[in-house]
């Protein structure tokens, strides 16, 4: 564990001392699901001035041990020590603070209360429990109830820390997003962490039946005992700490009370790579209950991975029958059809996927607004770990690129798809990458009623002008959670089915453009055929429009790029533009082209998103290489060399991203830790350690020796600990 310094604490100025707590209280009623990060409120005044000049600041934390008052008090005390130990620059002036009072709030999503500890220095310690409607209820609680509340609070805190995604878009850091947050790794503090882990596992077991109270991801219509954030957090912790056997013991006990826990057991067995056992457990579970949708999905995914799509299809059908309102069940059925090349059924089942727009991916959010925006933020730069190109990335550089962005690339609507719409789009691009655009349109015309046919059908009926082909929702209205720009498209919805022309090479080679009208009029239109067709859901119709937009930009880019190559001219773009092009390519599953774009992006400046995406590419390449080698097709010498190169690039990416996160006060990145431990499993910790030294020793000109120490050594510590 890297010792925190005064420069690893971001702060935001509040309106008046304590106002952040008032704000938080006011919002308790509206907190959904897991809730916000822990809030720390700090009162401070200058060493030589009067107490009346006191100001207040606040920041959020994740990963702090909140299992009891003493541990929170200790955390607050050490924070106060850090802040008062020496003077610091504070909005341009050197200040030496005294900290007379700090408060810490942690939201307990099980009981919907906010647990708060206030430390007065020197002096007393207060504990209050704030009800959802702002009432203080600690006096009404028995000590058992209070203990229970602390247990719940602690478990929530760990779940938030591990589920909070560490792949925010850049804008979060250098744009207007939440940045006044410090993330601590709860699992790399030796014996203390071991105890914490045990407490969490015990807490999980105790609270398992309350887990649905924490909410769930968009894949499911409602949280259940199996599908919820508590279980998700538990699985993530198990994976991070590799405590499979302990997890299995707990789950087996729970299974006695709740048979459906068996799907979690199978999942842990797969994580543990005990496949035979996992297959047996899945079979056993499904034999007992052939409508256990979680097991069915797990088995489908497994069988698909083993390249048996015919078998997988039967399982996926059973999954859909067992839980027809789960998006996930339908989406895996779509995947099976795609794998089998049955694109008509893939489209039909995609069209049946139940959409879910009222929930989003879990992420930390501001609960206390900044009155003067970023002017209220104190954001020091940690100096203990730096890497020039990463740590010194300036926001004005990015905002310059944003202001001068190529208009073609701004607001591409597919960028802003959320929730199940984003996942459905992903399935649609899985189809188009296999069929191509023209064939996709043909399949579409074959399974869905097209505008022209429909018009023909309704002509003559009373006052039925302008009925669209897209389905009107029966009850309640539908609402795509995509950005404003999409609405433009939406308004033209009625004509969209006709409006799509081929984007392929539009501007470059008109002769190859296929006329869609020709395609659609091919469709046979006698009544029975017509009845057999479906109405295309409005959202799916819309996704076709977005796909068209993406394809258009992608095709133009590729053609332009070829043109420039032929002319031997340099094709110039900013990092942001390359990054957008890369994302389009990835969305369309053109990973190689995407990786080139991301690599171009990174040659301009560091960008965490591009770095993450290119790392994804290296990892994909590595597993391709592995598949090739295990089928015996490649030369072993070359294989080792390629493998080493890829692993080196992956390591380099991990380190840069760790440094970036550290610069923004985050010392806990579950995703990166998993990638690193994967790498360690490959190469062995000693080899990794020496690679890091070789790549980032002092001689490379950056002060990174400290960083190697954590980037690398901290993880080993953690893994030794657990």
């Amino acid at each position: 564990m890297l010792p925190p310094s005064i420069a690893s604490i971001p702060e935001a100025r509040e309106d008046y001392p304590g106002s952040s707590l008032v704000e938080r209280t006011a919002r308790l009623l509206t907190i959904p699901d897991l809730g916000p990060g822990d809030l720390c409120n700090i009162h401070k005044y200058q060493l030589n001035s009067k107490k009346e000049t006191e100001i207040g600041t606040f920041l959020y934390f994740t990963g702090v041990d909140t299992s009891n008052v003493a541990s929170i008090a200790a955390h607050l005390q050490s924070l106060a020590n850090l802040m008062t130990s020496k003077s610091q620059y504070w909005f341009g002036d050197k200040k030496h603070w005294k900290v007379p009072e700090l408060s810490y709030c942690s939201y307990n999503a099980f009981s919907k209360v906010d647990m708060r500890v206030t430390v007065h220095i020197p002096g007393k310690l207060d504990v209050v429990v704030v009800n959802y409607d702002g009432k203080l209820i600690q006096d009404k609680l028995s000590s058992e109830e209070l203990d229970r509340f602390w247990l719940e609070t602690f478990v929530c805190g760990i779940v938030r820390a591990v589920l909070e995604s560490d792949d925010d878009p850049d804008t979060n850091k250098v744009g207007g997003g939440l940045v006044e947050v410090r993330k601590i790794n709860p699992f790399n503090n030796g014996i203390v962490s071991k105890e914490l882990l045990n407490n969490f596992l015990q807490g999980f077991e105790e609270l398992f039946f309350q887990g649905y109270k924490l909410g769930c991801t968009v894949d499911f219509p409602q949280p259940t005992l199996i599908n919820n954030y508590l279980v998700d957090g538990f699985m993530k912790v198990i994976e991070l700490t590799q405590t499979y056997d302990q997890a299995l013991e707990i789950l087996e006990r729970l299974q006695k009370e709740e048979p459906s826990v068996i799907s979690l057991i199978a999942q842990v067995l797969l994580l543990k790579q005990d496949e035979v056992e996992a297959v047996k457990v899945m079979n056993e579970g499904i034999t007992q209950n052939k409508r256990d949708v979680n097991l069915l999905i797990l088995q489908t995914e497994y069988v698909l991975e083993k390249k048996k799509p015919e078998l997988a299809l039967e399982l996926a059908k059973q999954a859909v029958k067992s839980s027809p309102s789960d998006f996930k069940a339908w989406s895996i059925l779509v995947k099976c059809y795609i794998r089998l090349g049955d694109f008509e059924n893939a489209l039909l089942t995609l069209n049946s996927c139940p959409m879910n727009s009222h929930r989003e991916k879990y992420q930390l959010k501001r609960i206390v607004p900044l009155k003067n925006g970023s002017e209220d933020l104190h954001l020091p730069s940690p100096t203990d770990v730096t890497l020039d190109e990463v740590s010194n990335l300036q926001s004005n550089e990015i905002s310059y690129e944003q202001r001068n962005l190529d208009a073609q690339l701004t607001n591409l609507p597919a960028t802003n798809l959320k929730s199940t719409y984003a996942k459905a789009y992903d399935l649609l691009t899985d189809i188009v990458v296999k069929t191509g655009w023209e064939a996709l349109l043909k399949y579409r015309a074959k399974v869905f009623v097209m505008e022209e046919e429909y018009r023909k059908d309704i002509r003559g009926s009373v006052s039925s002008a302008n009925n669209g082909t897209t389905k009107e929702p029966l009850n309640g209205a539908e609402n795509l959670t995509v950005a404003e720009t999409t609405e433009t498209v939406n308004e033209e919805d009625n004509s969209s089915t006709m409006a799509i022309k081929s984007p392929q090479k539009e501007n470059f080679d008109d002769s190859t453009t296929v006329d869609i009208d020709a395609v659609t009029t091919e469709a046979v239109s006698f009544e029975d055929e017509f009845k057999r067709k479906r109405l295309c859901e409005r959202w799916l119709d819309n996704l076709f429009m977005l796909l068209y937009e993406d394809l258009r930009v992608y095709t133009m880019w590729q053609a332009e790029s070829l043109h420039f190559q032929a002319q031997q001219m340099e094709y110039k773009k900013t990092t942001l533009e390359w990054e957008i092009l890369g994302s389009i390519a990835y969305r369309l599953k053109h990973f190689k082209e995407g990786s080139i774009a991301f690599s171009n992006a990174l040659s301009g400046r560091f960008s965490p998103q591009s770095q993450r995406e290119i790392m994804r590419y290296y990892v994909m390449e590595r597993s391709k290489l592995l598949t090739k080698s295990s089928s015996g097709a490649s030369n072993i010498h070359n294989y080792t060399k390629l493998m080493n190169q890829l692993n080196e690039k992956i390591l380099d990416s991990i380190i840069k991203l760790l440094v970036w996160n550290h610069r923004w006060y985050s010392d806990f990145s579950p995703g990166l830790l998993l990638s690193l431990s994967d790498l360690v499993a490959w190469e062995g910790s000693i080899k990794i350690q020496s690679s890091v030294r070789a790549l980032y020793s002092e001689s490379t000109g950056v002060t990174s020796s400290d960083k190697d120490h954590i980037g690398n050594h901290g993880i080993i510590d953690m893994m030794d600990d657990l």
Partner: protein, 84 residues
């Protein structure tokens, strides 16, 4: 067995809206309606449990499970070295 009369309120390309006497609204695929009906027609729907199909499906599904078990739990393919 249950038998009930429903009015076809609306007949779209592939979807019909049926109404029960007590104002239930049912979205129903037109493919399941008899030929020749139109908006305003009344249809009689009879519904009973199909135990035979249930049994057939049961047997079929069990055979899939058996195949999976025998393929992957006894005759294990090469263990993959890497999970990504």
């Amino acid at each position: 067995m249950v038998e009930v009369s429903l009015t076809i309120g609306k007949l779209d390309a592939s979807l019909a809206l049926l109404l029960t006497k007590d104002h239930h609204l049912i979205e129903f695929p037109t493919i399941l309606l008899p030929n020749g009906v139109k908006a305003g027609s009344i249809v009689k729907i009879r519904c009973d449990q199909d135990l035979k199909s249930e049994q057939e499906e049961e047997v079929h599904f069990q055979s899939i499970q058996d195949e999976i078990l025998s393929t992957f739990a006894t005759n294990l393919p090469k263990k993959p070295v890497l999970r990504v």
